[in-house]
C-alpha cells in the first residue's frame, strides 16, 4: 500500500532528521512508528502527506509516486489526525467532519449522509452532536470527531500523530479499542506515530522503531519482543514488562487445551495476560474457559508460562 | 542603478525588503532635494541633488547613494546595512544644510531654503534600512537605549554645530527661540505631568478594581466611554466646568485653574490616561499566578507584603506597558491643547497651519514626534528589561 524509499530530510547543514529510511506498510495494516522525541518519527509521517517536503528519496502510495501530485491534492486523499485533535473551533461538528468532502466538492446531501454515518460509527447520536461546537464536547468526543474528520472522504490511508496523547489513561484505552474496531471494519491502512510502547503493542500489526532518524527495526510486536534487533529496541520494548506484553498479544482461545478446572471460568476472548492475572489472584493452576457461556476446555499456568517466554509455542515469528 | 539592473543568479542573494527600500531611496534621489523660496510663505521651487548642491558634494552624495543601494539590495550582514543607512542619513543631513548656503543669494535674508521631499524620502529610506538592521541585530534593551542616546547626541551635535542654521526650520526657530523652549517645557509638563497624575490615581484604582470584582466592570466601562470622546471635544467640554470652578471655588484661580488654558487640557489628558493604566493594572495583577500568591501566603507574608514584594513586581511589566501607551499618546494629544490656549508644541503647528508656513508646522511637529519616539523606545526597553529580570528570577 505504502512504500517509502530512501527517504531523507535535512535542514541546512545539521545532521538529517530522517536518514535514508525505507519501509513498507501492507494494505489494511496498522503500522505503529515508535521512538523517543527527536527520533524523526513525526517528520517521517509529515513527509508522507508532504506537509514536509523530503530532501531525497520517494514515497509510493498504491504504486503511485506522491511527487506527481500537488501537495494539497495529495493531502485530501490521506486522512490525518494530530494530537489534541485540531478541530476548527468556529465550525460545528458536522462542518468539521465534512471538511475534506467539501474541499472535494461533494454534494451537500452526500456530505450530510456521510457525517451522520461517521457519527454513528463512533457511537455519537447524529441528531444530538451534529450541530454542537467542538468546545461543547468532552476530550474523548473531540478526539473521536477528529478521527471521523480524517476518515470522512474515505481515504485508503490514515496518518495519526500521537492521536491519543491528550487523553487521560481511561479514555485513551477506550479510544484505542474503538480505533482498532473501526479499522478492522473499514480496512483502512493506518500509520500511527506514538512514543508509548504500550499503545504500539496494543494497536500495531507491525511496529517500526526509530532512533536518530533511522529505522532500527520493523516487525510484528511478537517478533520484536522475541528478537529485538538492537539494545535500544530491547530497552524500548521493556525488559521486565516483556512477558506480560507478549501474553497481552494473544487471546485465551489460542492456549485452550482439553481438560477440567475448578472455579469461575474465563472468556475465550480475554487476553492471556488476563488469564495469568486470574490464576495468580485466585491461586489456581488452571482456569476453565468458556465461549458464549459454553465450556470449551481449560487454560493452565504451565501453558501461560510457556507462552510468556520468547519462541513460545504457536507463535511462528 | 546598475545594481538593480544586474541580473542576479539566485534570489537568495537578494534582500527583497532591501529592494523595496532601494526603490524608496531612488525615488528620493529623483524628487527635489531642497526647496528654494523667495520668502517664507510663497510656494517653493525644488531642485534635484545636482541642482541643490555644489558639484563635488552632489557627487559625494551620489556615491554614498550607490553604496547604500548595494548594501540594501544584497544580503550582507546587518551591521553593514546599519552602517550604510546611518552613513547616508548623516551625509544627507549635513549636505541639506550646505545646500542652504549654496542656493541662497548672498545678502538675501528673506529667501528660505527648506529640505525638499527628496531629502525626506531619502532620509526615510536610510532610516528604514537602519531600523531593519537594528531589528535583525536583536539588541538587548540597554543596547537599544545606547543607540537612541547616540542618535540623539549626533542630532544635537548637528543642530549645535550650526550646519543647519541656513535652513528655514532653524530660521523659524531663531526668531522664536525663547518661545520654543517655553512651549516645550509646557508640552513636557502637560504630557508627563498628566501621566504622573494618572498613575497616582489609576494605580490605586486598578488595585481596588482587582480586589473588588464588582467595581471592575463599572469603572472600566465608564473609563472606556471617556476614552471614546475625541480630544478636542473633551478639551472644549471641560472649559465650562473649570470656568465655573475658577469663579466659585476660593483659591482655585490662585492655583492657575481657569476655563481656558492648561487646566482643562491637563484634566482631559489625565482622563484619557486612566483607562490604559487602570485596565493594565487589573490585567497585570490578574496575571500573577495563583500558586505564587498562595506560596507567599504559605510563607506567612502579610497582605501588604504580598502586594509589594510579590504581586506588584510581577505585574510591573504589564502596568508599565500601560504607562508607555499613555505617555506616547499624551505627548501626541498635548499638541491639541494649543487650540484652547493650553500651550505646548501644538502652538507652532496651528500657527503654521494658519499661516500656511510649513516650516513652522515642522517646528512644532518634529520635536513632538522626537519626544514621543524617545519615550516609546525608553519605556519599551524598560518593559523588556523588567519582564526579562522577572523571567531570570523565575528560572533561578
Amino acid at each position: 500500500m505504502i512504500r517509502v524509499e530512501n527517504l531523507t530530510k535535512r535542514y541546512g547543514d545539521s545532521p538529517p532528521v530522517v536518514d535514508d529510511l525505507s519501509m513498507e506498510v501492507a494494505a489494511g495494516e496498522i503500522c505503529a512508528v515508535v521512538g523517543t522525541s527527536g527520533s524523526g518519527k513525526t517528520t517521517l509521517l509529515r513527509m508522507i502527506n508532504r506537509l514536509v517536503e523530503p530532501s531525497a528519496g520517494r514515497v509510493l502510495i498504491a504504486g503511485e509516486n506522491t511527487r506527481g501530485l500537488r501537495g494539497h491534492e495529495l493531502r485530501r486523499r490521506i486522512g490525518y489526525v494530530i494530537q489534541g485533535h485540531g478541530l476548527f473551533p468556529h465550525w460545528s461538528v458536522a462542518q468539521n467532519i465534512g471538511t475534506v468532502p467539501r474541499l472535494l466538492g461533494w454534494k451537500p446531501a452526500e456530505i450530510k449522509a456521510r457525517v451522520d454515518e461517521l457519527l454513528g460509527l463512533f457511537g455519537m447520536e447524529p441528531a444530538a452532536f451534529r450541530d454542537r461546537r467542538p468546545a461543547e464536547l468532552s476530550g474523548g468526543q473531540q478526539q473521536r470527531v477528529g478521527v471521523a474528520r480524517a476518515l470522512a472522504a474515505r481515504p485508503d490511508l490514515l496518518l495519526m500523530d500521537e492521536p491519543f496523547g491528550a487523553l487521560d489513561p481511561v479514555i485513551r484505552g477506550r479510544a484505542q479499542d474503538e480505533l482498532a474496531a473501526v479499522q478492522a471494519r473499514l480496512g483502512t491502512t493506518i500509520m500511527l506515530v506514538t512514543h508509548d510502547m504500550e499503545e504500539a503493542v496494543r494497536l500495531g500489526h507491525r511496529i517500526a522503531v526509530m532512533d536518530g532518524g533511522r529505522l532500527l527495526q520493523c516487525a510484528s510486536p511478537a517478533e520484536m519482543m522475541a528478537r529485538p534487533a538492537t539494545p535500544f529496541v530491547e530497552a524500548l520494548v521493556g525488559g521486565a514488562e516483556r512477558p506480560f506484553r507478549l501474553l497481552s498479544l494473544e487471546r485465551v482461545e489460542a492456549a485452550v487445551e482439553a481438560g477440567e478446572a475448578d472455579g469461575p471460568p474465563i472468556d475465550a476472548e480475554a487476553s492471556l495476560r488476563d488469564a495469568l492475572s486470574a490464576c495468580l489472584w485466585s491461586g489456581r493452576d488452571a482456569l476453565p474457559v468458556e465461549r458464549e457461556g459454553r465450556r470449551i476446555g481449560r487454560v493452565t499456568l504451565a501453558a501461560l508460562r510457556h507462552r510468556a517466554a520468547p519462541g513460545g509455542a504457536g507463535r511462528a515469528a | 542603478m546598475s545594481v538593480l539592473a544586474a541580473p542576479v543568479a539566485s534570489s537568495r542573494r537578494v534582500d527583497r525588503l532591501g529592494v523595496l527600500i532601494a526603490l524608496v531611496a531612488i525615488l528620493g534621489a529623483i524628487l527635489p532635494f531642497a526647496l528654494f523660496r523667495a520668502n517664507r510663505i510663497v510656494p517653493g521651487e525644488g531642485g534635484g541633488i545636482a541642482a541643490a548642491l555644489p558639484p563635488a558634494e552632489a557627487a559625494l552624495l551620489g556615491l554614498a547613494l550607490l553604496c547604500f543601494l548595494a548594501a540594501a539590495v544584497l544580503r550582507v550582514p546587518a551591521a553593514v546595512k546599519l552602517a550604510a543607512g546611518a552613513a547616508l542619513l548623516a551625509l544627507a543631513c549635513l549636505l541639506v544644510g550646505r545646500s542652504a548656503g549654496f542656493l541662497t543669494p548672498p545678502g538675501n535674508s528673506f529667501a528660505r531654503v527648506a529640505p525638499g521631499s527628496g531629502f525626506w524620502t531619502l532620509s526615510f529610506a536610510a532610516l528604514l534600512l537602519a531600523a531593519d538592521a537594528l531589528v535583525r541585530l536583536r539588541l538587548p534593551p540597554l543596547g537599544r537605549v545606547a543607540v537612541l542616546v547616540l542618535a540623539l547626541a549626533l542630532l544635537g551635535l548637528l543642530l549645535w554645530s550650526g550646519a543647519w542654521d541656513g535652513l528655514s526650520l532653524l530660521k523659524e526657530y531663531g526668531t522664536r527661540t525663547e518661545r520654543f523652549w517655553a512651549e516645550g517645557r509646557r508640552h513636557v509638563a502637560l504630557a508627563f505631568g498628566s501621566v504622573a497624575a494618572a498613575c497616582l490615581l489609576g494605580l490605586p484604582l486598578g488595585l481596588l478594581c482587582h480586589r473588588v470584582g464588582r467595581l471592575r466592570a463599572g469603572v472600566l466601562s465608564v473609563l472606556n466611554i471617556l476614552q471614546t470622546v475625541p480630544s478636542i471635544a473633551l478639551f472644549g467640554l471641560l472649559i465650562g466646568p473649570l470656568a465655573w470652578v475658577a469663579a466659585n471655588v476660593p483659591g482655585a484661580r490662585a492655583l492657575g485653574i481657569s476655563g481656558i488654558g492648561a487646566a482643562p487640557a491637563f484634566v482631559a489628558l489625565v482622563g484619557y490616561s486612566l483607562l490604559p493604566i487602570v485596565s493594565n493594572t487589573v490585567v497585570g495583577l490578574a496575571g500573577v499566578s495563583r500558586s505564587v500568591v498562595e506560596a507567599a501566603r504559605g510563607m506567612g507574608m502579610r497582605r501588604s507584603q504580598r502586594l509589594f514584594r510579590v504581586e506588584l513586581p510581577l505585574a510591573a511589566p504589564v502596568v508599565l506597558t500601560g504607562i508607555r501607551i499613555v505617555l506616547v499618546q499624551n505627548i501626541g494629544i498635548a499638541t491639541v491643547a494649543a487650540l484652547i490656549g493650553g500651550g505646548g508644541f501644538g502652538v507652532f503647528v496651528f500657527q503654521g497651519v494658519g499661516q500656511t508656513a510649513m516650516d513652522l508646522v515642522l517646528l512644532g511637529a518634529a520635536p513632538t514626534v522626537l519626544l514621543a519616539f524617545t519615550a516609546a523606545v525608553l519605556l519599551d526597553a524598560a518593559v523588556e528589561a523588567l519582564s526579562g529580570s522577572n523571567r531570570r528570577k523565575a528560572e533561578r
Binding site: L51, T99 | G240, G332, V349
Partner: protein
C-alpha cells in the same frame, strides 16, 4: 443591567437623531451658555450636514485603511512575506508615535486644505491599529488548528478564507473599531485644516468664546463615538460567542 444599558443607548441614539433633525428645539437649553446674545445653536452650516460629512469622511478613511492594513497583515503572515514581518512590526510601532495632529498638518502641503489632507491623515493613522490587531489575530491561530487545516488538504488561500480569517475576525474587528474611533476624533481636528466636520462647530465656539457651540459639537462627536464603539463591541461579542460556544 443589560436592559438598562440597551435602554440608555437607544435613548442616546434617539436624542441625537432629534437634535440633528431639529436643533432649534434645544436652543433654550444652550442659551444660558452664550454671552452677548450670541446664537445658541451653531448656524454656520447645518449640524446635520456636518455630522453626515464627518461620518462619511471617517467611514471612507477607516474602510480604506482597514482594507490596506488587512491586506498587508495577510501578506506578511504568508510564508512568502514572512521576512517582512519583524520589520513591518517595528515600523507600525514607530508610526504610532506620530501624533495625529502632526500627520494632519504635514499633509497640507501635499494636498492643500479641506477634506483631502484630513482623509489622508485619518487613513494613515487608521492603518496601525488594524495592522497590529490583524497581525495578532492571524498569528494567534493555534498551531494545532492550522496544522489540521493543512493536513486536510486546504490550499493556502482556503486556509486563509475558511480558517484563519474567521478565527481572527473578532480581533481584527477590534482593530477596526479602534481605528474608527481614532478617526472620528481626528476628523474633529481636521477642521483646523478647513475640513467640513463637526470640529468646525467646536473651533467656532473656541474662537468666539461661545461655550454652547463647543458643547454641542463635542456632545455630538462624543455621542457618535459611544454609539459606534458600542455597535462594534456588540458585533465583536457576537463573533466571539460564535467561536467560544
Amino acid at each position: 443591567m443589560r436592559l438598562l444599558g440597551a435602554a440608555w443607548r437607544i435613548a442616546l441614539l434617539l436624542g441625537l437623531g432629534v437634535f440633528l433633525a431639529r436643533p432649534d428645539l434645544f436652543a433654550p437649553i444652550f442659551a444660558p451658555l452664550t454671552r452677548f446674545d450670541a446664537p445658541a445653536i451653531y448656524d454656520g452650516t447645518s449640524l446635520l450636514s456636518l455630522t453626515l460629512n464627518h461620518l462619511a469622511l471617517t467611514f471612507a478613511a477607516t474602510l480604506a485603511a482597514s482594507a490596506l492594513a488587512l491586506g498587508l497583515a495577510v501578506l506578511v503572515t504568508r510564508p512568502a512575506g514572512a521576512e517582512f514581518l519583524p520589520f513591518s512590526r517595528a515600523l507600525a510601532n514607530a508610526g504610532q508615535t506620530f501624533p495625529p495632529v502632526a500627520v494632519l498638518a504635514l499633509t497640507v502641503p501635499l494636498l492643500g486644505f479641506g477634506a483631502a489632507p484630513t482623509f489622508l491623515a485619518l487613513f494613515l493613522y487608521g492603518l496601525l491599529p488594524v495592522f497590529e490587531n490583524a497581525l495578532a489575530g492571524l498569528s494567534g491561530v493555534s498551531p494545532g488548528v492550522s496544522e489540521a487545516a493543512r493536513g486536510s488538504g486546504m490550499t493556502g488561500l482556503q486556509r486563509l478564507r475558511l480558517v484563519e480569517l474567521p478565527l481572527a475576525a473578532p480581533v481584527i474587528l477590534a482593530g477596526i473599531r479602534l481605528s474608527a474611533i481614532v478617526s472620528l476624533g481626528t476628523a474633529t481636528v481636521g477642521s483646523t485644516v478647513a475640513a467640513k466636520t463637526l470640529g468646525e462647530v467646536v473651533i467656532a465656539g473656541l474662537l468666539s468664546g461661545n461655550t454652547a457651540f463647543v458643547l454641542q459639537g463635542g456632545l455630538i462627536v462624543a455621542a457618535l463615538a459611544i454609539l459606534i464603539n458600542d455597535a462594534f463591541l456588540w458585533v465583536e461579542g457576537r463573533l466571539r460567542a460564535r467561536l467560544a460556544s
